[in-house]
Amino acid sequence: MSEERQIQLEVLRYNPETDLEPRYQTYTVPCVNEWVVLDALNYVKENLDPTLSFRWSCHMAVCGSCGYMINGEPKLGCKAFIHEYGDHIRVEPLAHFPIERDLVTVVEDFITKFASVKPYLIPKEEKPISAGEYKQTPAQLMKFKQYTLCINCMLCYAACPQYGLVPEFLGPAAISMAHRYNQDSRDGGRDQRQEVIASHEGVWECSFVGACSEVCPKHVDPAGALQQVKVASTIDWYQEHLMPWSKK
């Protein structure tokens, strides 16, 4: 389990001050088999090349900092085990995001979109703290719990071809988070969120490739959330246009 082997770590480098476009650089890294790709990157940073830039922190797949393309697949660097790869591993910044430098991407677009869906509880009924907690049964919690597990690592955006082609698309994580609050028994803000997520750049831009759910390190299943939003939005449309008396 602590056998060592040498790998060739090919990393996409880009320094905006000196490079016109990105280039690959290969490092020879002696790896312990139980390492993850992030460990190999840190080996490079500490021993071979202090100029290599990448984000990371928790090393336990919960902070969401270290998403990279590893052999073309969006992965968390701290959860991509060396033993699952051959002797040549290619690491690139997350697809579909502009490269700031080396493996660091510009993520403002995601943050803006995430904030735009009102990802916070809009209470159905206001209640003072002194009145205690809102009651919520385990079954009601279970209804949305899965969607609370998103760590905002953005692997789903890197996997989603639709986001790559149509940058205006709100994307998997943002819409899933809106769905999470819509499904929460304490929340009454669905109508406010619908304006954003039921729009053209919202859920209808999704063509259900399903790649987001396949790469999600936390099994949030954003693809499922988006289809459920579509179903609910369709029912809204029918209720509004064919049964105007049924709503409001």
Binding site: N15, P138, N152
Partner: protein, 586 residues
């Protein structure tokens, strides 16, 4: 240098920083709030906390019991007035979080569920499966998005506080993506920048926990308090230090040595309790310091299991069954399988103690105010002190909330106290000095030292000499070595010369922070000639209330070791007594 005008600047956007920002925005929507963090808020290390947050809510519990557990757990080094405030506010804060949507685990009737935790007389820990910190952080971050007055400065590294006329009036920060310095002019500053566990090589802490906030205040003249108290969490994965929550034991997991003996009964925490029926404040539900110390003794006796990653004991959860583990401890199972290749449903998991939390930090009073006017601190970087010599598990998440909010209220009081006009020229001159300091570090071409080299030496020194058990001799060595490293830091040379996202520069700055913190730990520990809580001396094995029922205060000196002073502990109603974690006496 661009100047950003704001009313209140917050350094750090983890649990405490976000809670403070929301409290400010709610109190007065016209306040300009600058939330400055070296990482995006959801990357903050609050996300890695697993077990839960303590707060009295159930009818069988009482504030007095929470008080007793906290003060006893802290080996009577807690300020009891602060603890009193803390336990009173705790339930309100946890309910507030529930109102903001935190997905707390529930009882069948829909009320919030609580779980038992180490060192507690009664089950009191609110939890969201075993991802409590994660959910708290994301709930706070998402809630903060609805306040337009919270202006975020993500990926800005705070370099220096601006203190003029005895008041803190802002700070300088490096915008990481451009390499440009910015001056934040503020009427008050709240530091909420987390702990410094990365001083040690084997820690549950993420890469970002480098004591920057502590160093920021320390260099501005605020003493660091009780830095020698560093908590080891008893159950970390042996290969990389990943935390397995205390919830594992709270739910009924047991610790055994190589012979299968539940060895905690040999260290005053017995008698043995039935497997799968944990008894509060007994055996596996003893406090963290005692559990970690027992490991050390077992290792000396040769009772540990030898693994490729060193000596371990075993955490056995098999009797909990797959269903309960999946429901209550899903992350723990995932982490064991992913990072160790072992399934807790099927086999005992090798674990060993790992550096987890700094009880010490920026000296504040009960209102989260530091001795420097206009400067406040909350969260792990601060020392109020409610944690004393050993933090009770699940008090830290609550602390973020209670004192994050308290710091915000104090900052507002400070603003309302009628502040004189600022001397802009003086502030600009200070900001310029700060910029020059960073530029000098950045520009220096050929240094004889590297960041990685110095960091490795620092970590090795701390691990060898300032670990679970300490001696005067080792601590003297640690003091000497860290002082030497601080001097050698001057000869640091950076390889990376790009202004854009220069992580070489970042790591150099972080190393500077850690070295300052490490020296405060070593000096404080050397001078505290007693054993108390997480600070255990082999040459002074007893607690010494005569001489050391006191807080250590370390004052910064740029070239020399810190000057140490002592401050009396505030005792209101609980006189120092014996910490009793044996079920037998009941």
């Amino acid at each position: 240098m661009e100047i950003i005008q704001t009313d209140i600047a917050i350094v750090g956007a983890g649990g405490a920083g976000l809670r403070a920002a929301i409290a400010l925005a709610e109190a007065d929507p016209k306040l300009r709030i600058a939330l400055i963090s070296k990482v995006y808020p959801m990357r903050s290390h609050t996300c890695a906390a697993e077990g839960g947050a303590a707060g009295v809510i159930k009818s069988d519990d009482s504030l007095d019991l929470h008080f007793g557990d906290t003060v006893g757990g802290g080996d009577w080094l807690c300020d009891q007035d602060a603890v009193e405030y803390f336990i009173n506010e705790a339930p309100k804060e946890l309910i507030q979080l529930e109102h903001w949507g935190c997905p707390w685990s529930r009882e069948p009737d829909g009320s919030v569920a609580v779980r038992p935790f180490g060192g507690m007389k009664i089950r009191r820990t609110w939890f969201a499966a075993d991802k409590s910190g994660f959910h708290i952080l994301h709930t706070l971050f998402q809630t903060s998005l609805q306040y337009p007055s919270i202006q975020r400065f993500d990926e800005y590294y705070a370099t220096d506080l601006l203190v003029d006329d005895g008041r803190c009036q802002g700070l300088t920060a490096l915008e990481i993506r451009s390499g440009q310095m910015r001056q934040f002019q503020a009427k008050a500053v709240i530091i909420a920048a987390g702990g410094a566990g990365k001083m040690f090589p084997f820690t549950t802490n993420g890469a970002i926990k480098t004591g920057d906030g502590m160093a920021l205040a320390y260099r501005a003249g605020v003493p660091l308090k009780d830095m020698e108290f560093v908590q080891y969490h008893p159950t970390g994965l042996p290969n990389n230090g990943i935390l397995l929550t205390e919830g594992c034991r709270g739910e009924g997991g047991i610790l055994v040595n190589k012979d299968g003996r539940r060895y905690l009964q040999d260290y005053g925490m017995g008698p043995e309790t039935p497997v799968g029926q944990p008894v509060l404040k007994t055996m596996e539900l003893g406090p963290r310091d005692r559990l970690s110390q027992s490991f050390w003794h077992e290792q000396r006796k040769g009772n540990t299991v030898s693994t490729p990653w060193g000596d371990c004991v075993l955490l056995d959860m098999r009797h909990l069954g797959e269903k309960k583990i999946n429901e209550r401890l899903p992350l723990v199972r995932d982490l064991c399988i992913s990072y160790l290749g072992m399934d807790p449903v099927k086999e005992p998991i090798p674990i060993r103690p790992v550096v987890h939390y700094c009880m010490g930090g920026i000296h504040t009073d009960i209102k989260a105010a530091t001795p420097v006017s206009g400067l406040f601190a909350a969260g792990e970087c601060a020392c109020v002190s409610i944690n004393g010599a050993n933090r009770l598990g699940s008090n830290s998440l609550t602390e973020l909330l209670v004192f994050g909010r308290r710091a915000a209220l104090s900052a507002i009081e400070h603003l309302q106290s009628g502040l004189p006009d600022s001397n802009d020229a003086a502030l600009a001159a200070q900001a310029k000095n700060s910029e020059d300091r960073i530029r000098a570090l950045f520009d220096k071409s050929a240094g004889t030292e590297t960041v990685a080299g110095l960091r490795k030496e620092m970590m090795a020194t701390m691990e060898e000499n300032a670990g679970i058990y300490r001696t005067g001799e080792e601590l003297a060595r640690a003091c000497e070595k860290v002082a030497e490293l601080r001097q050698r830091y001057v000869n640091l040379g950076l390889t990376d010369k790009s202004k854009v996202f220069n992580t070489d520069l970042m790591q150099a700055l972080e190393l500077g922070s850690m070295l300052d913190c490490a020296e405060a730990v070593a000096v404080g520990a050397r001078d505290r000639k007693e054993s108390r809580g997480a600070h255990q001396r082999l040459d002074f094995t007893e607690r010494d209330d005569q001489n050391f029922l006191k807080h250590t205060l370390s004052y910064y000196h740029p070239k020399e070791p810190p000057r140490v002073e002592y401050l009396d502990v505030v005792i209101t109603k609980s006189q120092p007594g014996v910490r009793d974690y044996s079920g037998a006496k009941k």
